[in-house]
């Protein structure tokens, strides 16, 4: 097994998939010759040719819309949106088209499409390059939404997404692209879509995060253990939609407390759905309200401010303190 970063794991998954299945292709802005602005597809065009790794004109609706047509007609496209903030341009093609074609055609046509996009903050990008928009797609039946927090899941979830018969949005936390390495099997394997992962077991409080906030809650859990003796169960949601409610509920039934952490703004975020489901299904286990630690209800701020705007270890620890006091 090799030690890979998240971005290398993503690269590895795409390479493997393209080797194994001729129908797999990648299209997007700068994905070919340049290998992607983050080098996710470095060298893939040289290896698989311009027909399978395609530099497109600058148009997100067309990237997704043509990928829908490609998928319907027998290909297995991976469409890259250069930054998640630009996905609004493709909203109709995602939410009204890709998501609904199976339904619209009564199961006759399907859209085995993966849409990859980097997202998340903390790396001093220009405006609209750091927004977390996963919640928008939780509200669209027909889509699956996946986000890895480590190299192993990155590869396994991406391969699962490529195998999936339905459109999967694969959101990559760009802060974690090169943050650390971890062991990744060289062969094909999948991490099932729709299953959360218990990162650390615990008994006092459940911390729930995904993508970029997983290292934050894991770190908070460690410090809370060391500094306060609290036993935190840490859950990496991995799939935003369809959500693994059973895993969340099982944990909260044990701990009685939950803190959910995301970078996206508070209102209407995925945290609201997590909180709503917990109180629906584990009401009598709850000893304190589910607390949300999230971005504030403002646009994502400029680089000089983002660090104090984003949820961090200290805010998570403070939230745990708060819920433990109840």
């Amino acid at each position: 097994m090799k030690e890979l970063t998240v971005i290398q794991a993503i690269h590895d998954a795409m390479r493997l998939a393209m080797e194994r299945d001729e129908r797999v292709m990648l299209l997007g802005e700068d994905v070919g010759k340049n290998g992607g602005v983050f080098r996710a597809s470095e060298g893939l065009q040289e290896r698989f040719g311009e027909h399978r790794v395609v530099d497109t004109p600058l148009a997100e609706s067309a990237i997704v819309g043509t990928a829908v047509g490609l998928a319907v007609a027998g290909m297995r496209p991976i469409a890259e949106i250069q930054f998640l903030g630009f996905i609004y341009e493709a909203m109709d093609q995602i939410a009204s088209q890709a998501a609904r074609i199976r339904f619209r055609s009564y199961g006759q046509y399907t859209v085995p499409l993966v849409i990859r996009a980097p997202y998340g903050g903390g790396v001093r990008t220009p405006e609209l390059h750091s927004d977390s928009l996963e919640a928008l797609f939780l509200h669209t039946p027909g889509l699956k939404v996946v986000t890895p927090s480590n190299p192993y899941d990155a590869k396994g979830l991406l391969l699962a997404a490529i195998e999936d018969p339905d459109p999967v949005l694969f959101f990559e936390p760009l802060k974690l692209y090169r943050a650390f390495r971890a062991e990744v099997p060289e062969d094909w394997y999948t991490v099932p879509i729709g299953k959360a992962r218990v990162v650390a077991e615990g008994t006092d409080v459940t911390l729930i995060g995904w993508g970029p906030t997983v290292p934050v809650i894991a770190q908070a859990a460690k410090r809370l253990d060391e500094e306060r003796g609290y036993s935190c169960e840490v859950i990496d949601l991995r799939t935003i939609s369809p959500m693994d409610t059973d895993a969340i509920v099982a944990s909260v039934e044990k701990t009685g407390r939950a803190v959910v952490v995301h970078e996206a703004v508070l209102s209407g975020g995925v945290g609201a759905e997590v909180a709503a489901r917990i109180q629906e299904r584990a009401f009598f286990s709850l000893e304190a309200p589910v607390v949300r630690v999230t971005g504030y209800d403002t646009p994502y701020p400029v680089p000089s401010i983002e660090d104090v705007w984003l949820p961090d270890v200290e805010r998570v620890m403070a939230a745990v303190e708060e819920t433990m006091r109840i």
Binding site: M25, V64, G69, V72, M75, Y106, T245
Partner: protein, 361 residues
């Protein structure tokens, strides 16, 4: 300073004059095939009128009539192979039915039945697109897939004059040109987008010239001349199949009816304009005159076919109306390939509720 100001106009391609006389080169079609096209024009016109009628009786839902546009649709679909991909809006039923989409399925759609979008298994007809211009990108993608998979098939996208204003139209045209996709963009310019006239939709005299912005070929054809339409489409389809890239066709036609059954065109449309198109430019009498001159059609055949067509439409109505009612719980079955756990719970709760309801009723 020399500028790009206006482009040299290209004449409207026409084979038949409005009185049905030959003014251009007739395409290479057998007499039998010509009669078949005519029969379908008549049949679909009858279908359309009957559907309007059914809607008024409350037997089907909102319906978008295509009367007046039969030549544009049937003439162009006549140039397709069964395995070509077809992506249409809501107003291409004449063409789609001619291409093999059953009349009763079309009726099921307007009845709000979930099976009303299903293409026959040996055709590649995509469900009706409601979002204006979204289907153009799907056609580009499907045409692209055909080429990548080494298929002979090509893709077609049908849309209206209004659709040309959407960003997706532009992006589809550009992608198609850049990647030389085997696709034909077929615009039925019927002069109206609901109440918005062509002259408020764009500042150009034609849709066809927009091809110049993409490095694509643009064709302007009389959409009420079934032979001209066939010839233009055939040429574009052949070019696409031969790897010569996409074509934009503008078929100039007219919607004789309302936008949909929910629309009242007298609010915005000049009666004289409408009357002119109805009385002088209807594609059906025009083609009939041509066939009659050639001895391919007669008064008697007409009478006979009118009856036969009505009978076929009635049969379709009967089949549609006696089609099994949908199972409401099927709504959960085609969201994903496999129903996820929480959705399965919703489905179970829904079914319990439905059962309770039935118990009560």
């Amino acid at each position: 300073m020399k500028t790009y100001a206006a482009c040299e106009p290209v004449p409207v391609y026409r084979v038949l004059a409005e009185d049905g006389s030959l003014v251009g080169e007739a395409p290479d079609l057998s007499g039998e095939r010509l009669v078949e096209l005519y029969r379908w024009m008549v049949l679909t016109r009858i279908f359309d009128q009957r559907a309007l009628n059914l809607q008024r009786q409350g037997r089907i839902g909102t319906y978008a009539p295509f009367s007046g546009q039969e030549a544009a649709q049937i003439g162009s679909f006549a140039a397709l192979d069964p395995q070509d991909w077809v992506f249409t809006s809501y107003r291409e039923l004449a063409g789609v039915m001619f291409h093999g989409f059953p009349m009763e399925t079309a009726l099921l759609y307007t009845m709000g039945h979930p099976e009303g979008t299903k293409s026959p298994a040996d055709r590649r007809i995509f469900p009706v697109q409601i979002v204006i211009a979204a289907q153009l990108l799907h056609a580009v993608g499907a045409g692209w897939a055909c080429r990548l998979r080494g298929e002979r098939s090509i893709a077609t996208a049908y849309f209206g004059d209004g659709a040309t204003s959407q960003g997706d139209f532009h992006e589809a045209m550009n992608f198609a040109a850049v990647f030389r996709i085997p696709v034909v963009f077929f615009c039925q310019n019927n002069f109206w987008a609901i109440s918005v006239p062509f002259t408020k939709q764009m500042a150009t005299p034609t849709v066809a010239q927009k091809a110049l912005a993409y490095g694509m070929e643009g064709v302007l054809v009389d959409g009420n001349d079934v032979l001209a339409v066939y010839a233009a489409m055939k040429r574009a389809v052949d070019r696409a199949r031969a790897g010569e890239g996409p074509t934009l066709i503008e078929a100039v036609t007219y919607r004789l009816g309302p936008h949909t059954t929910a629309d009242d065109p007298t609010r915005y449309r000049d009666e004289a304009e409408w009357r002119k198109w109805r009385d002088e430019r209807d594609p059906i009498p025009r083609f009939r005159k041509f066939l009659e001159t050639r001895g391919l059609w007669s008064e008697e055949e007409e009478r006979h076919w009118q009856e036969e067509a009505k009978r076929r439409v009635e049969e379709a109505v009967v089949r549609a109306e006696s089609y099994p009612k949908p199972n409401p719980a099927s709504v959960f079955d085609h969201v994903y390939g496999t129903v996820p756990p929480d959705l399965a719970r919703q489905k179970a709760a829904f079914e319990r509720r439905m059962n309770r309801r039935e118990g009560r009723e």
